[in-house]
């Protein structure tokens, strides 16, 4: 008891009388890390707000005991809590983009917490701010501290948040999904930084997350919550090796498995004659080609100057070639800004194209010709990341599924109604609910509706743009299973755009890795994951969290930060032709000069 940094006893939290956390108890020893795991609505974030005394006033109420430094935090006045918050207990939030005050200089925001709790001022204060910025490895801190948050990247902002949290040597740090909004390579850097600083200061950490991979990386102890109740609590090795609750086992299984393993030694790529990728039909082996993209270019103009002339172009997609066979799934992976989503949008004419050729089922698409465009739309459909946002909130789901059939004259009257009911059953929904509005469904059900709507067009290819990324882990698995089932039954192909390696690993036959607008590696999913050929692929894979705490130390993320030159190029810029090499029968990698 005495060496616990914090002890929570029978914590219950209610909102307007409705209890959402039902009796939670745990201790975190000094220097220890407890991972609080759960999906949305499990009560994990509410717990952290209760500890901080930040539940919405007048609505949220917490009972039980939160013992910290010999006092029960739930009995303290607002003034006393102000002294503890930021000083003895500090917090890091999920959204680095919105968690900093946009109109205050970064240095001032960092200085505020130091001034409040350490009472420094003047030159001493500035030195303390600089020291913290150096500790979280912000380059050129003297310059950076006078800048505003919008000039910082997400990862840098999260490092500023970490600096604020650690500035007053707290005995407890609460980290609420601190890396969820970050790219996987940035996540690896941030986790490493947090671990290093925790070791240095000896602070206890309450780490809130939904990602078992992250838990395997950082936690000493794990507490799994569901619907406000504790369903599993134990040391991290025990929980991973012998999960007692099936729900915990599901969560553990949801983490990427292949990717978590250590990459095998790789053979040197064999240079291809002429250095170019082989033609599509050849590359995708047997079977009819559903989609063939050749040298696709997407550029967005950058305006500037007095008259708003085009001063350069963002090369969002640069000379991308790929192909998908009937019934095949091609994954498109990469981090934010890599151009992976833009490719899907360019194919379906939601983004402009500046060059290249796109063939659907052998037919070249002429985007200026209405008939050609209409033919493409019949064969290619899209599902989006946010199922609620991609449905018209005022339209019943049945009508949403019917509309494309009626507009394109695919079916009429009773036949269309029948087909709509059939589609709803196919995606696992009760046709009797056709009259309901989208908000009456859960997130996973809404994505099912979107899939049914896409299938109403009887497409040959569905572009899934981060289609499962916004879903909870357990729902994600169900939607992926549904997609795989539909593929087997209907023979539809998928272009699966995602940053989520566990989903890609499960559904994709082949995978293409995107880096700043270009494909750097393409091949069968298991081969690319086991024998990554391109340095970026290796870095990306190494950053994916491990799957079991036993793997700690066996695999170090590659933490280099080599940013390529800006994607904004002057007008008329031509990128040099890429040199490709072959690693397997259909595993190709770009050779860097």
């Amino acid at each position: 008891m005495t060496d616990a940094a914090i002890s929570v006893r029978d914590l219950r939290v209610s909102f307007s009388g409705k209890e959402v956390v039902h009796g939670l108890s745990f201790d975190i020893p000094r220097g220890g890390t407890l991972a609080l795991v759960g999906e949305s609505g499990s009560g994990k974030s509410v717990t952290s707000l209760a500890i901080m005394g930040l539940l919405p006033q007048g609505i949220g109420r917490a009972t039980g005991e939160i013992l910290f430094g010999g006092r029960n935090l739930l009995g303290l006045s607002e003034r006393d809590m102000c002294r503890i918050r930021g000083g003895e207990i500090s917090m890091i939030f999920q959204e680095p983009m919105t968690s900093l005050n946009p109109v205050q200089r970064v240095g001032d925001q960092l200085a505020e917490v130091i001034r409040l709790h350490r009472g420094l001022s003047g030159a001493e204060l500035e030195e303390a701010v600089l020291e913290m910025m150096r500790k979280v490895r912000i380059p050129a801190p003297e310059k950076r501290l006078r800048q505003y948050p919008h000039t910082f990247s997400g990862g840098m902002r999260q490092r500023i948040m970490i600096a604020m949290a650690l500035a007053c040597s707290p005995s407890l740090i609460i980290a609420d999904e601190p890396t969820t909004a970050l790219d996987v390579t940035v996540q690896a850097q941030t986790l490493q930084l947090l671990k290093d600083l925790q070791q240095e200061t000896g602070a206890a950490v309450l780490f809130i997350t939904h990602d078992m991979g992250v838990v395997a990386e950082v936690a000493d102890e794990v507490l799994v919550m569901r619907h406000g109740k504790v369903i599993e609590h134990g040391a991290v090795h025990d929980v991973f090796s012998n999960p007692r609750d099936p729900y915990t086992a599901d969560l553990i299984r949801a983490a990427p498995t292949l990717a978590g393993a250590r990459p095998e030694a790789r053979p040197a790529p064999e240079p291809l004659p002429g250095g170019a990728l082989p033609a599509a039909a050849e590359a995708c082996g047997a079977g009819a080609t559903v989609l063939e993209v050749r040298d696709l270019k997407v550029r967005f103009p950058v305006h500037g100057g007095l008259l708003g002339r085009v001063q350069g172009n963002v090369h969002a997609v640069e000379k991308v070639s790929l192909s998908i066979a009937r019934g095949e799934t091609l994954g498109l992976v990469g981090e934010s800004g890599s151009g992976k989503s833009t490719i899907g949008k360019a194919i379906i004419d939601l983004a402009p194209r500046q060059g290249g050729e796109i063939r659907v089922a052998g037919q070249r698409i002429d985007y200026r010709d209405k008939a050609s465009l209409a033919a493409m739309r019949r064969k290619v459909q899209m599902i989006f990341q946010d199922p609620y946002g991609s449905l018209d909130a005022r339209q019943s789901v049945g009508s949403a599924i019917l509309e494309p059939m009626l507009v394109h004259g695919l079916a009429k009257g009773a036949e269309a109604q029948e087909r709509m009911a059939w589609l709803m059953e196919k995606v696992g929904l009760d046709p009797a609910r056709a009259g309901s509005l989208p908000h009456e469904f859960s997130g996973g059900q809404r994505q099912r509706i979107c899939i049914a709507r896409a299938l109403a067009m009887e497409p040959e290819l569905i572009i899934a743009d981060e289609a499962v990324s916004a879903l909870d882990v357990s729902i994600k698995g169900q939607i992926i299973d549904l997609m795989i089932g539909l593929q087997e039954e209907l023979g539809v192909s998928y272009l699966f755009v995602s940053h989520d390696m566990s989903a890609v690993e499960r559904i994709c036959d082949r995978v293409a890795v995107m880096y700043f607008g270009e494909i750097v590696e393409i091949g069968p999913t298991p081969e690319v994951i086991r024998q990554p050929g391109h340095p970026y692929t290796r870095r990306l894979l190494s950053a994916i969290p491990i799957t079991h705490p036993d793997q700690r130390g066996s695999r170090r993320p590659i933490l280099t930060e080599d940013k390529p030159s800006s994607p904004i190029k002057p007008v008329g810029f031509q990128s040099p032709p890429a040199q490709w090499g072959r690693l397997g029968s259909d595993h190709f990698v770009r050779c860097e000069a």
């Binding site: 949008k345 379906i348 004419d349 939601l350 465009l373 209409a374 739309r377 019949r378 459909q381 899209m382 989006f384 990341q385 946010d386 946002g389 991609s390 449905l391 018209d392 909130a393 005022r394 339209q395 019943s396 049945g398 009508s399 019917l402 509309e403 494309p404 507009v407 394109h408 009257g413 009773a414 109604q417 029948e418 709509m420 009911a421 046709p431 056709a434 009259g435 309901s436 509005l437 979107c450 709507r453 067009m457």
Partner: protein
């Protein structure tokens, strides 16, 4: 399966509408009650008073409230209560019709500008900005003075000043909706531009336009009253509220109730429209809902 022959959208829509009625808050209800009461008073004015709004009576000049005249008489001996009741006709007609015209024209132009973008957008919005760059009251004043103060002209003048506001809000609404995933999904499904704009995007921006309409009706009533007060409203002896305030103001030292009664009437009607608009905004604006 037989009941599926009906478009499945119908029951959902009906439910949504009923839900909206149920969600209306107190302030909307108060505003609606006031407006409806005033509309009824204006329609049934002849039954609510025995006096004519324009008949002069030299014997009863400036008589105080009570004594056969509910609110007294003005300097020509005209019954103020009667003038208020008949005056409501002009305030309501001008306020409502001017904004209906502005709403239809402005929303349509704004939607087209927002959806098409490019040159259409630049030209249309440039014109709107030029109109908007002018104090509305002065613009209305100048227009009415130049084209003549008839009922139709006042409606046109006020509608003219209000149109850019609707164009702007419709354009902004369309531009946000256009980039939302559901609009992209519609494009991916191969729906035509007009279908996306009028079937899917328009219903999404209409609530906001309705809120604006209500708030602008308040402004229109105020502008109409201001014009009449300045002396550029409907010509006397037409009983306009603003004109009555002006006549009362000219006699303010002797009998202040002359100005007070129509002032309160104007305030009441403007307040009612503002209450409706405010209440609707609370119902419609999801941001405010989330915060509560």
């Amino acid at each position: 399966m037989t009941d599926m022959a009906h478009p499945p959208a119908a029951p959902a829509k009906r439910r949504a509408r009923l839900g909206l009625l149920r969600r209306l808050n107190l302030s909307t209800w108060i505003g609606l009650v006031i407006v409806v009461a005033l509309v009824l008073a204006a329609i049934f004015a002849p039954w609510l008073t025995e006096y004519s709004p324009s008949k002069q009576n030299i014997l009863h000049q400036l008589s105080p409230p009570g004594d056969g005249h509910l609110l007294g008489t003005d300097q020509y001996g005209r019954d103020i209560w009667a003038r208020l009741l008949y005056g409501a006709r002009y305030s309501l007609t001008i306020g409502i019709f001017a904004i209906v015209v502005a709403m239809i024209v402005g929303t349509f132009l704004g939607m087209i500008a927002g959806f098409l973008g490019g040159r259409t957008d630049i030209v249309l919005m440039q014109v709107m900005d030029v109109i908007l760059a002018f104090p509305a009251l002065i613009l209305g004043l100048a227009l009415v003075a130049l084209i003549g103060a008839t009922m139709g002209n006042i409606i046109i003048a006020i509608a003219f000043t209000a149109t850019p506001a609707f164009a702007r809000i419709a354009r902004a609404g369309v531009m946000t909706q256009r980039d939302r995933e559901y609009a992209q999904a519609c494009r991916a499904l191969g729906f035509s531009g007009p279908r996306i704009l009028f079937r899917h995007i328009m219903p999404a921006i209409l609530p906001e336009v309705m809120v604006m309409s209500s708030l602008w009706m308040a402004t229109a009533v105020r502008t109409e009253a201001s014009l009449a007060f300045i002396g550029l409203g409907l010509a006397p002896p037409t009983p306009t509220w603003g004109g009555m305030v002006r006549e009362g103001y000219d006699n303010i030292l002797s009998s202040f109730h002359l100005a007070l009664a129509p002032s309160i009437a104007i305030l009441l009607l403007v307040l009612a429209f503002n209450l409706i608009g405010d209440g609707l905004r609370d119902v419609v604006d999801p941001r405010l809902k989330d915060a509560s």
